[in-house]
Symmetry: D2
Subunit: 341 residues, 4 copies
């Protein structure tokens, strides 16, 4: 039995980690931290967890890390850097925030607007897209969870880029995202009243921070600079990202490449050629569904990817990585079936 702590447990990804770990046979939650909500119980903050026997929320510096094997850091962007640097060496870390997603300090500063304060650590962090970094993750001390949009699109595109199957200069990704991706912060445009009957694009024109990840990952993969066009849209459904990727390439070859790449993956499901995945069919699970369709225009292919942003896009991925880092079975605690309807 391994001991874990969750930092930032009063947010949605923190709660999702608790949900998953409750069904995990090899992990014990040793400590839960929150900042403004320190002193409260998890039952106060998340009534759906009230049947669980959980430690109360404390301030981060009240935690004794002596017998903690691994920390999940589900903190607002910018707060993990100093924190991780100051943790005892024996503690492994899965960071769910953005602090260690980019390896280039200049890129980090460009997208996040401030210099990185732990650039040495930044160099050692392993990018946490499990299916493509498994061996490095097993031995890493610090794993950087990917952005939820970044995960979705990469599942659709990586095997196609690696296989040279698509035009690298013309990749357009249109995403439909549930509001849980924005977390629990209080913003007027995130009220129920504002979101429940509205569909709208945001961060249009290439301003979304996950572009930093795309640029770094895809360019490294292709061995040349790759820039994609990426536009997220908010839709009125709590969980789920649907990424519609408009590509130039041969659709059947793309389907074959994706099917082959993911043939042995427990969580990535490639649909029969021509079928379309829906977010409703992965809700609450760690699965990602991929659909590939040929357009009527020759040489065009549409790859659609659906996953649950809070699970496979964030906390599920984090647990999958933690399993690897702790020498546990990779799928432990993660095989729950999607909740539909």
């Amino acid at each position: 039995m391994k001991n874990v702590a969750i930092l930032g447990a009063s947010g949605y990804t923190g709660a999702e980690l608790v949900r998953l770990i409750a069904g995990h046979s090899g992990l014990r939650i040793k400590a839960l931290s929150a900042d403004r909500k320190a002193g409260m119980t998890m039952a106060d903050v998340f009534p759906h967890l009230r049947h669980l026997n959980l430690p109360a929320l404390v301030k981060m510096d009240e935690i004794d890390f002596a017998d903690v094997d691994l920390v999940f850091a589900a903190l607002p962007h910018g707060l993990s850097q100093a924190l991780v640097r100051d943790l005892p060496d024996h503690v492994k870390v899965v960071d769910l925030g953005a602090d260690f997603r980019l390896s280039d300090p200049a890129e980090y500063e460009k997208w996040y607007g401030a210099a990185h304060v732990a650039t040495e650590l930044q160099q050692t962090a392993v990018y946490g897209l499990t299916e493509f970094n498994r061996e490095a993750i097993r031995t890493a001390r610090l794993v950087a969870g990917t952005g939820c949009n970044a995960a979705t699109v990469q599942f659709a595109l990586r095997p196609l880029i690696a296989g040279g199957l698509i035009d690298l200069d013309d990749i357009i990704c249109d995403l439909k995202c549930g509001p849980t991706g924005a977390g629990r912060a209080l913003k007027e445009n995130m009220l129920f009243t504002e979101r429940s009957t509205d569909v709208v694009g945001y961060a249009q024109g290439g301003k979304h921070r996950h572009l930093g990840e795309f640029d770094e990952q895809f360019s490294a993969l292709a061995g040349r600079k790759v820039e994609i066009q990426f536009t997220p849209h908010l839709v009125p459904s709590n969980r789920g990202i649907l990424a519609s990727c408009y590509l130039k390439g041969d659709a059947e070859a793309c389907h074959a490449a994706l099917a082959e790449a993911y043939a042995d993956e427990p969580f990535i499901v490639v649909l029969p050629f021509g079928e379309a995945p829906g977010t409703g069919h992965v809700t609450g699970s760690n699965f990602c569904h991929l659909g590939i369709t040929a357009d009527r225009i020759s040489g065009r292919v549409l790859v659609t990817a659906a996953l649950d942003n809070l699970c496979k896009g964030s906390s599920g991925q984090a647990l999958q990585n933690a399993n690897l880092m702790l020498g546990l079975p990779e799928t432990e605690g993660l095989m729950m079936v999607p909740v539909f309807p």
Copy 2:
């Protein structure tokens, strides 16, 4: 390992059973039946189940029941009667429909509009409200799952009626129900377009069939005739029933009685006095949350119960009963944490 079959697997309660059994260590799905959809795969009918290795849907009479230990009958009302009668004796049955919920043939005919065709079996069926019928369920061959509304309200009221704590002549239950309770049948008023921004009462005035269950159960419990006033309302949220029960009695005594009655129950959670449960905090789980509040008017108590109609209100209850009938741990496959948000 026990073998089970699910009859009526193309409906929502059938799919929910598959979801739960996939996380169960002691059950194997041997056969799945559907009527109009026989010949299809479960992946066709329920894409969220596509990663599971499931038998294809067949007609009921194509199933070999020789090595089936237990059947879940998730059939439209009226179809289980003859079917269960004709099953081999060794097969245990959990019926999720309404056919065996009422023990009085006259009451059955009154509420369902047709004579019961298996009245002998009807007498042997055990009413499947697990928490109140555990011992009889353990040894039953046939267990009748309760109505989802009937389960919700009974969790709120049974200990109060048994304890003589409330006025039996003045019980008013106002329910808010998710559309999944109506199943997958094609009805105009169940379209997304009609339901997504509408809140409306239905079966008003005492016409809802679950009243037959309330009458029979509460009268037996009280040792006198009890009739409650019960009105369900449709609200735009897939899963969940919130029952607001307006009662006359002492609120603190009611809270104490409910807290005591459920102290050792794994799935029934009594909230601190004065707190209100929400359906969003039990979604996807087998938990039922109960809240008790005193009104400003002396002698009035409001008991609110929240559960997931497809799980604790139907398929979760069915699995809990099956566990008992098969000598398995009662909570096996049922401890998943609610999915929030």
Copy 3:
């Protein structure tokens, strides 16, 4: 052409007033105020109004009231008192907040937690439930808009109380309310993520402030003290209140009394006996639908009322009153058909 100003125009009832006045032939919007959003345009704050030629948002004290005939005060509770006191005498006021709903200063202090600062004005304010106060409203300088829940329940109950048709000691009102009723304030439990799949009661046990209105109005009407039991619930649909009123009386007599009371009312529609109204059928309109059903238990009647809280429950009512106060046709700007689906 009469000139109006809207104070608090950056909230939902302010925006709804703008929507309605845009279709009104006799009113011109002269000024719009907001506090924190002063300096912004309405297009910034409410993009759905961007095609209208509207004055920019200013601070209240920047408004020249010289040629303003009537002010709509859509301010947070507590702010109208001093403001209205200090307005020039020629300006009529429709207050959409709670400041003048209660005529008894002690009751005001009890429900709102602070002494009233304009108690003389409080005595002169006319309670704005148009259908029951028409003549007083015509000549009033200050009309106090009702609470949205208070309006809904009063449409269901006033003719029954006035007619002595129901038991005054046993009135139970269960309300299902859209989140727009809570306004645009930033609260965690009002985020889309928290509300979109949750149904939950609030202010349970007689703590909701609209009870002050019920007590005062119903007691005055009955000529004795009347206290009702009232519980609101949040449901995931932007607009709409459905009030289910559980009463003791003769259902057909109640139906006859309501039908007669509202026979000539343009906005109150009494459905045929036994039919149930839905919030989806009044959305965006000034209509209130009333349904009356007999229960299977003799002597019980269920009266259900549906209206749009932002329109008939608030801004529509306000405009209806303003029309009367300004000598304009009562229904002007208010006959728009509900938006369904």
Copy 4:
């Protein structure tokens, strides 16, 4: 006062026409037809219309067209052809279905799977995209309403194609559509339970029938063959289409061209450069909001269009055309403000 009849009044576009005409000063509804629901009242079929004094639903052949000036045909695809052919000559027709959208009989047969039975009429029909066909519509006897997706995308693209501002060989349109676009037909995937938490593409790969319209219209406009890539997605919000059009061209030039093209249009609103429109801000109205953004990749422009599919995308457009055909003010009955939130 002109007399109109609505054929197919039991569908959503029929109900929307009634809603709009109720606020129109120059039209009287003379007859309403429905097929399976003939004999019912509109209040039975659409309770939100119950306050209106409307003719009962009849079979089409029961209508006396002698004093009918204009017919709105809101019929399932394929039924208008013979019907319009057989109407008296004096009756003008606005067809909301697909029967007359394509002028080429071969294209019609290709997309709709059957030969057109009124090919002579087909040649005379005027394509009803009001803003681009105003003069022809004024004098037409038969106007073919556009597809709702077709309208949305054309508002975004026509001035850009006409102005030679974008690469005609690389137009990608990703649409997010509310389920009302599918009408009131009973389909399993249109149930609330299936749609309320799902986002999914459909008719992927160039199979959607509105492509016939795009091909014909854009090719005519460009003077060469133009084929766009077009993928609609279902999102859980009743009304609204958001079209995200990924184009190659100069963003500022595109913004200028759109702003100029629509400068005098009462219903088409071009947002300031860089702003994004949302469907929630046009709900219930006849407005279309257009947003134009430059991508970080040089030479890429994103044009986003939002409108209400039942109103500007269908019934609002139909009424706008009817106004022109009957010599009435074009905006009469159509200036209602969007309903938000």
